[in-house]
Structures are given as structure tokens and as C-alpha cells.
């Protein structure tokens, strides 16, 4: 009966319009947040380095090969790098000055991969592996190492196929142990290495800095050369001057990485614009909602006034409208989460076909944003409804 009195079937068209607007706006808004989070997770995934890390080296030229120049970084070059505004820190790679012979047993020790290898190290703090898995406290004979992700691919899609061996995931390889024979200064000792992780971005076999210092001291035969690779920590890897600077100095870097950073900033802009537009649509929807309820209340002014004069509390009448509004909002919220979930499912399928993995489910940031937007809708309309009612009292 209250519907006949307080609603009078007016404003329905406007409410539907506002609902559609809110739906589109919210969908766009939440989907851009979800999309952004997914792409972020895709870009950051499986890498030991944060977004701001670059590894640079000098180009190897004929002169280097003839022994005239070399690719080591001189101290003044490192200073100059550090002086650039977009570069926060510079950490030269330390390389091993001893011989290492590694072997790993496969398929029940009958097969073994044996090879000469070398190590490099960077300060532990720049490696994104948690401290439990990384580090070395001498003089233990067990160390952790990190490998280029390509090594695992080389094994899984090449070696294991040729030799009829099982494929391994990056998870299970962590359980394997590499046997290392390190020799130099007339000694030979055996160490065991546990693979702590893989990196897409650095083509180096990394060991903890502490171990490197220890081993170079104990086994190092040769004088260490100038570092030929440098880890650069950028506060803005997409800075336009960065690429120019590297080119001028004749430094090489992982181009993909730079492209990635650039893609990320483009992505950020696109998502930002999308979010901006959707916020505009959401605001419009909010205005239409608020105006619709004001119109409905004005349209039922006589009835509301009568109810107030019969002794009905303002809160009871406002409560009636707010109940309807919260029903609309819950419907909207559920619908949007459903659609975002569905569209995300489609996106997952498309990405998976192309070999990308993104986490399933709806991101917490999306839920939070939805709650905040709906909360603001409810709050604004509550204030507006009470104001309209007060005018009638």
C-alpha cells in the first residue's frame, strides 16, 4: 500500500536510466581496476626483480675481441650513471674468479648433466627473493643460486625431450641439488646449491654476495676485472632521457624490459583515462538517482505531508525510500560483479591461449571500490532524501 502512497509509479523511467548509467559506469570503472591489477600481476610475475631494475652492459665490438678495449665499466662511468636524475642506484655485478664444475643428477642419478659454470652476484637487497631462501652464512657448504628462466625452458623443451627425461616445473626444481666442485689456489672443495628462483630479466647465474666474496677470497686465482655488467635501479624506467643516454654511452640493455616499462606507463594512462570517464558516468548516474528520488518525493509531497501530520516519523518515510534504493544498489552491485567476473573469465581464456597466466577471481581492490562507490551513493541519497523530507515537514 505504501507504494501507492509514496511511490505513485513515478520516476521509474528515470531510475531505470540512472541504473543503466550506474551499471555502465561502475562496470567500466571496476573492470579497468581489475584489468590494471591483472596486467600488473602479469608484468611483475615470475621475476626476481622489481619494475625499476635494468641491467646494462657495453657492446662487444671487434676492438674488444682484439683486446684493445674492454667492456668493463670504469669508476668515472659508474659515477656518471649514478649522477643521472632518473637513476637511483648503481650496483656492479661481481663475477667469480675461480673455476666451478657443476653436476646435477637426473632420473635417479643414471643421467647427469655436467658443465663448467661461472657465477655473478649483486647486492642481496636488490634480489626479490625472500631472505629465507636466499643468502649464505659461511662456511656452510650449501648455497642458494638463481638461474635465468631460459635455462629451465632449454631443459624442459630441449634437453629433456632429446634425452627422454621428465619435465620439471620451477616449483619442483627447487628441490633438486646441484653439486659444485670449486677449485683454485691449489684447493678443490665441494658445495651444494639449491635453486632459489628463476629470472626472466637477467642472464646470469647468481649467488649470494656473501658467498661470492668468500669464494673469490678463498679460491680466486686471477685479479678481478672491472665489472662488465651493472644493475641500475631507476625511479622511472620509462623516462624518455634514459634510452637516449644509454645509446649515447654505447650501453646495451634488455630492450624488452624498457619496452615493458613504457607499455606499463601507456597502460597506466589508458586505464587512468578509462577510470576517469567511468567516474564521470558514475557521477552523472548519482546525480540522476538523487534527482529521481527528489522528484518522486516532490510528486508525493501531499501524501508525505499527510503521513507526517498523522504522526509518521521522517525516518520511517526516508527508510522506505532508502530500502528501495538499497535494493536497486544491491541488484546493481551483484550484477556488476557477475559481469566483471564473466568478462574476466573470457579474458583469462584469451590470455591463456597465448600463454599468459593471470590470477583467477576478482581482485580485492575491485570489491573495495564497489563498496566505496555504493557507499557514497547511499550516503548522498540519504542526505538528499532527508533534506527533501525536511522541506515538507
Amino acid at each position: 500500500m505504501l507504494r501507492k502512497v509514496l511511490w505513485k509509479n513515478q520516476g521509474l523511467g528515470k531510475l531505470i536510466l540512472a541504473s543503466i548509467g550506474a551499471f555502465l559506469g561502475l562496470f567500466l570503472f571496476l573492470f579497468s581496476i581489475q584489468f590494471y591489477q591483472d596486467i600488473q600481476s602479469l608484468l611483475a610475475k615470475d621475476d626476481l626483480f622489481g619494475a625499476g631494475f635494468l641491467v646494462i652492459n657495453k657492446e662487444v665490438s671487434l676492438l674488444n675481441m682484439a683486446g684493445v678495449g674492454n667492456t668493463g665499466f670504469r669508476d668515472n662511468e659508474l659515477e656518471d650513471l649514478k649522477a643521472q636524475s632518473y637513476i637511483e642506484d648503481v650496483a656492479p655485478f661481481v663475477h667469480s674468479t675461480f673455476r666451478t664444475y657443476a653436476s646435477i643428477g637426473l632420473g635417479g642419478q643414471e643421467q647427469e648433466i655436467r658443465t663448467d659454470i661461472f657465477f655473478e652476484s649483486i647486492p642481496d637487497a636488490y634480489l626479490d627473493i625472500n631472505a629465507e631462501k636466499w643468502g649464505w652464512e659461511g662456511p656452510a657448504d650449501e648455497i642458494s643460486i638463481a638461474l635465468p628462466a631460459d635455462y629451465l625452458k632449454l631443459y624442459n623443451f630441449g634437453f629433456s625431450q632429446s634425452y627422454g627425461l621428465p619435465q620439471v616445473s620451477s616449483g619442483t626444481i627447487g628441490m633438486a641439488r646441484l653439486k659444485l666442485k670449486i677449485s683454485g689456489k691449489g684447493r678443490t672443495e665441494t658445495f651444494y646449491a639449491r635453486i632459489a628462483g628463476f629470472s626472466d630479466r637477467i642472464n646470469a647465474i647468481l649467488v649470494p654476495q656473501g658467498f661470492m666474496e668468500y669464494a673469490n677470497e678463498r679460491f680466486g686465482d686471477r685479479e678481478a676485472r672491472k665489472p662488465s655488467r651493472v644493475l641500475v635501479v631507476c625511479n622511472d624506467p620509462a623516462h624518455p632521457d634514459l634510452e637516449q643516454y644509454l645509446k649515447e654511452e654505447g650501453y646495451e640493455t634488455n630492450r624488452e624490459k624498457l619496452k615493458n616499462s613504457r607499455m606499463q606507463s601507456v597502460l597506466r594512462i589508458v586505464v587512468g583515462v578509462l577510470a576517469g570517464i567511468s567516474v564521470l558516468i558514475i557521477s552523472l548516474a548519482l546525480i540522476v538517482f538523487t534527482l529521481s528520488f527528489q522528484l518522486i518525493i516532490t510528486g508525493a509531497a501531499e501524501e508525505i505531508q499527510l503521513m507526517l501530520h498523522l504522526g509518521t516519523r521522517e525516518g520511517a518515510i526516508a527508510g522506505y525510500y532508502l530500502k528501495s534504493f538499497s535494493l536497486i544498489l544491491s541488484g546493481l552491485g551483484l550484477g556488476i560483479i557477475g559481469v566483471v567476473g564473466y568478462v574476466k573469465g573470457l579474458v583469462i581464456d584469451v590470455l591463456q591461449e597465448r600463454g599468459f597466466e593471470i590470477p583467477e577471481g576478482i581482485d580485492a581492490a575491485v570489491w573495495l571500490s564497489l563498496m566505496v562507490v555504493l557507499g557514497v551513493f547511499m550516503l548522498v541519497n540519504t542526505v538528499s532524501i532527508f533534506q527533501s523530507l525536511r522541506k515538507l515537514a
Binding site: 500500500m1 501507492k4 502512497v5 505513485k8 501524501e303 499527510l306 501530520h309 498523522l310 504522526g311 509518521t312
Partner: protein, 213 residues
Amino acid sequence: MDLRLQKVVPVPLRDWNLSQSGVWNQEVLLECGKSYLVTSPSGKGKSTLLNLLYGIRRDFDGEVVAGNRKWSHLKRNQWATLRQTEISMVFQGLRLLPQLSGWENLRLKSRLPLHVTESRMREMVELLGIVDLMGKKCAFWSYGQRQRLAIIRALLQPFHWLLLDEPFSHLDRDNIALAAQLIQDECQQRNAGVLIASLGDDYELKLDAQLAL
């Protein structure tokens, strides 16, 4: 709950000569349990007085006092409580909703605290002879029929004061007698006071005093 009018003057009557008035700009005590007839030619503020006591009009000088409550200080929710349990009114123009049936119009009121039972409500409807109409929309009722419904609506709730604004204007003698009797019974039962505005007729009600505006 006695009502005390302290030098009340409605804003529109400010500039009038009110020395002849028995109410405006006077100290008036309305004792609960008594019946008052408010008479005056039209346009002298009968409805204004009732609306002012009911809190619909707040544009007046002076003060209305009940116990320690002052009308000009009451908040909106206090008015709601007052109208739910202490003062009831039959409005000028009745203010029934035409799109609702008779029963629905009563139900709009019966969502609030009630004094009478459902069966007593039905009894009143039968007594005033509108039971057959109750299912129909009030838009189709005559003014006299609506007047009876408005009286019943005002009698559903608990009250100390009943304010009636020209309640019988469109009723015939027999119906006036029935309605007046019903009103008197209900007020007696609640020990409530009555303030009835009229052009001059006393409607065969037992009256304790007459207030000439």
C-alpha cells in the same frame, strides 16, 4: 495535559485589533477533559488556531505550553510522538488520499500506535454507516461520507486532545448525532479534551466552554 496559550498571535493577524478576541493575544487555559467550541465568522482564524495547536503552523508570536513543553521548541520527532499519542485531529479538507480505499486510508494511520482494536474500528465504520463503501477508492465517495471516515481515522489513536475542524459541515442531522455521540464516547473513555471549530452551530455536543475568536 492542559494546554496554555500565552499571548498567542498568528503572524497574519499581527496588525489587527485583537482586543475583542477571546483567544488571540490572551492568556487562555484549555483544561484536559473539557469540551470547547471555537466559534467565529469565517476568516478569523479557527483553522489557524487548530493547526497551530497541532504544530502544522508555526508562524505565531507568543507561546503554547503543555507542562514543561513549549511548542516553539519542539523538534520534528517530538511532533511525531505528540501526534501519535497525545493530539489527534480531523483536518479541514479532511486530507484523505483519494487513490486509497477507505480501509487503506485507515491503515495508513493504523501503522502507528493504536488505541482501539480492529473490531472496534469495524464497529465505528458500521455505526457511521460507511461500511459498504470501505473497499472503494475515496475518490468516489461523497464529501459527507469522507467526513465520517476522517472522524474515524482521528479516533483510532490514543490522545489527550481531539481537534475537530468543521467536522460535520456536510452531514445530516441523524449522522451528526451519531458522530457526535461516538466522539463523546471515545473522548470520555480517554478522558480527553475536545476543541471543535464551527461557524456557530453547537451540534448538540455537551460543551464546557465557548471560545470566540
